[in-house]
Symmetry: C2
Subunit: 362 residues, 2 copies
């Protein structure tokens, strides 16, 4: 379906018209123009403000998977060790990435409907002595939100590891507090809370991380190193996406105008309404406890008597598109995305009303 | 400068309004929709037709450097050997990429204003026994076009190497003939002849190349392997860029409507006019011979009495933006881009008239 009448997907979310209009300008060549570097610097400053960091910000071209790969490859050499804090597919994915480059990996795991226990993370970190500890703030497929980033960040410092956090689908909708949480490498996607198309990626990089990146010396499209000096030298590792960077500026300015606190409150309200309406109509949350549910996406168990394909078709026939799932949750859990442009109580009420009508209509 | 009044840059080229309007649609999630996979397949078919290949087509998200890196990393393991056929920065870059991943590399080099001698390539290939031979069709910084792809492709077959060709800035403006030229990995950028923003990359992959990719087993954002089964399994390695894919469809359909032969003739005419007007106003071509000049970009020596910065400022004050250079050609050679939307005799005449007025005005 080209355009969703009622879009409640867990990303790419509905892109507002004023953001899409960034593409109507026929921009020049990003490589050649001081204007572009000024825009890049402005966006860096806005991201620092939004994610509460004084450290570097890197904005690259490519879907968010590019910075997941780039973060792992930039921070680890073959033979080094990654400790993945995981209660979902993306958390586990970091271990797979490490193994793919000849590094070793261990996972401190919890069931997908729960969060890993930080005490187990500390034990594992002290024993395993990883160079990199990875965590996922919002596990989009599971609808959970990590509650203990600061503690994980402290553990990483204790064992002299870098702390990488995937906040691809939470940043901007939930406070991320990069510096307070001791996050060395922070990863944000464009098609989630920022409500852009899936073509840009945003990262925070601490000076600790830059030092490791220099030691590792990784080269590639997704390498961070060539971005370190972009603000000073005005040279890019490839031709950047000026339309995308303009769209990012519109999105960031909109969050600043609203006020990040107000944006977080809007996400919390939308999520609360989604959960409340879902529970009232007899659905059950996939996460074990409501407190660990993400304000950006809600995961419900597929109700008895329905297959995902049947439910998806029935919802689509009424204009509502939500997310299914994959991996072990495929066919068991579905998801309502209410992040960015979709963190809107009116929209959520409309979507959940449609869902209720479909479930009752059976 | 946000928008160029007279754009004759060697990419990213001016993006036509009808292509930019692809972003006005609020597309759904590429992961979820059969429509998207149909569009992907349609674009694959159009690329096959344009580049004259029956082999696979892969369309990824990220600037063209992503497929340059991805091609080398997918085709070579550490310790293996790359032979780079090079008479320019991009040709040499493939050797650097190979070395960055622990492979070895040798360069068959020619001066930047000339083309490498295929006899030397054959000698080197027989002696060095590379796993991968790389060549650049159009060396954008030098304005040269390789004339002997078929011969290079035959050499690669003789020594059982893959043949990778960067036709990033020529494909669509010059016949590439992937199958006839025995190209195993063909690389095309979005912001050159296709006249899209710099956010998509297009590759051709032969079955020989897929077999090597399987053996090498490279994993990463820029890895080719996960794309092999996209058409059958309807699963993507990351969320694709639906707006970008729609823009690509508009661009490809426009070339098909015009007819590839007519598009090539238009590029040849624009290039001929550019060279003729340049020579008439006393400029000298950077390439040694007019026969090796690319129909997509013309490189002239910066005339005596001018620095690049002075010339660039003077041209910009009249609305004309062209390309400078970098590496060894920085400050010595400048470039007129007449590819894609800019392969237009009226535009070239206007731009070259402006250039002449500026040079005479001194």
């Amino acid at each position: 379906m080209k355009t969703y009448p009622i879009a409640l997907v867990p990303g790419p979310v509905s892109v507002p018209q004023k953001i899409r209009e960034a593409w109507l300008t026929d921009f020049g060549s990003s490589d050649l123009e001081a204007d572009f570097y000024e825009l890049y610097a402005r966006n860096q400053g806005l991201v620092q403000k939004l994610l509460e960091t004084k450290e570097s910000v890197v904005i690259t071209s490519g879907e968010a998977m590019s910075i997941l790969w780039g973060g792992v490859k930039s921070a680890l050499r073959p033979g080094e060790r990654l400790l993945a804090v995981a209660s979902g597919l993306f958390g586990e994915g970091f271990a797979e990435m490490a193994r793919a480059i000849g590094a070793e990996a261990e996972i401190v795991a919890a069931p997908y409907d729960d969060l890993p226990d930080p005490r187990k993370v500390r034990e594992a970190a002290r024993r395993y002595r990883p160079q990199l500890i990875t965590a996922v703030h919002c596990e989009t497929p599971s609808g959970t939100l990590a509650q203990n980033l600061r503690e994980l960040g402290e553990i990483a410092r204790e064992v002299d590891a870098l702390f990488l956090v995937d906040f691809v689908s939470s940043g901007g909708g939930v406070p991320v507090e990069v510096d307070r949480n001791l996050i060395d490498i922070g990863l944000l996607g464009s098609q989630k809370v920022l409500s852009l198309p899936p073509s840009l990626s945003v990262s925070t990089v601490s000076s600790r991380a830059w030092n490791v990146f220099e030691r590792v010396g990784y080269s590639g499209y997704d390498a961070y190193l060539p971005w370190r000096k972009v603000p000073e030298v005005h040279a890019l590792p490839y031709t950047h996406d000026w339309q995308g960077m303009t769209a990012l500026n519109i999105a960031l300015e909109a969050i600043m105008e609203e006020g990040p606190e107000n944006a977080y409150a809007r996400h919390a309200r939308a999520a609360h309404l989604c959960r409340t309406m879902g529970l009232e109509m007899g659905l059950t949350l996939f996460p074990m406890r409501e407190e660990i549910c993400s304000p950006t996406v809600t995961a419900f168990n597929i109700p008895d008597g329905w297959t995902w394909n049947e439910l998806d078709s029935a919802l689509r026939s009424r204009g509502l598109v939500v997310g299914g799932n994959y991996g072990p949750l495929d066919g068991r859990v579905f998801r309502i995305g209410h992040m960015g442009s979709q963190a809107d109580e009116t929209l959520v009420a409309k979507g959940m009303g449609t869902l209720e009508a479909v479930l009752k209509g059976r």
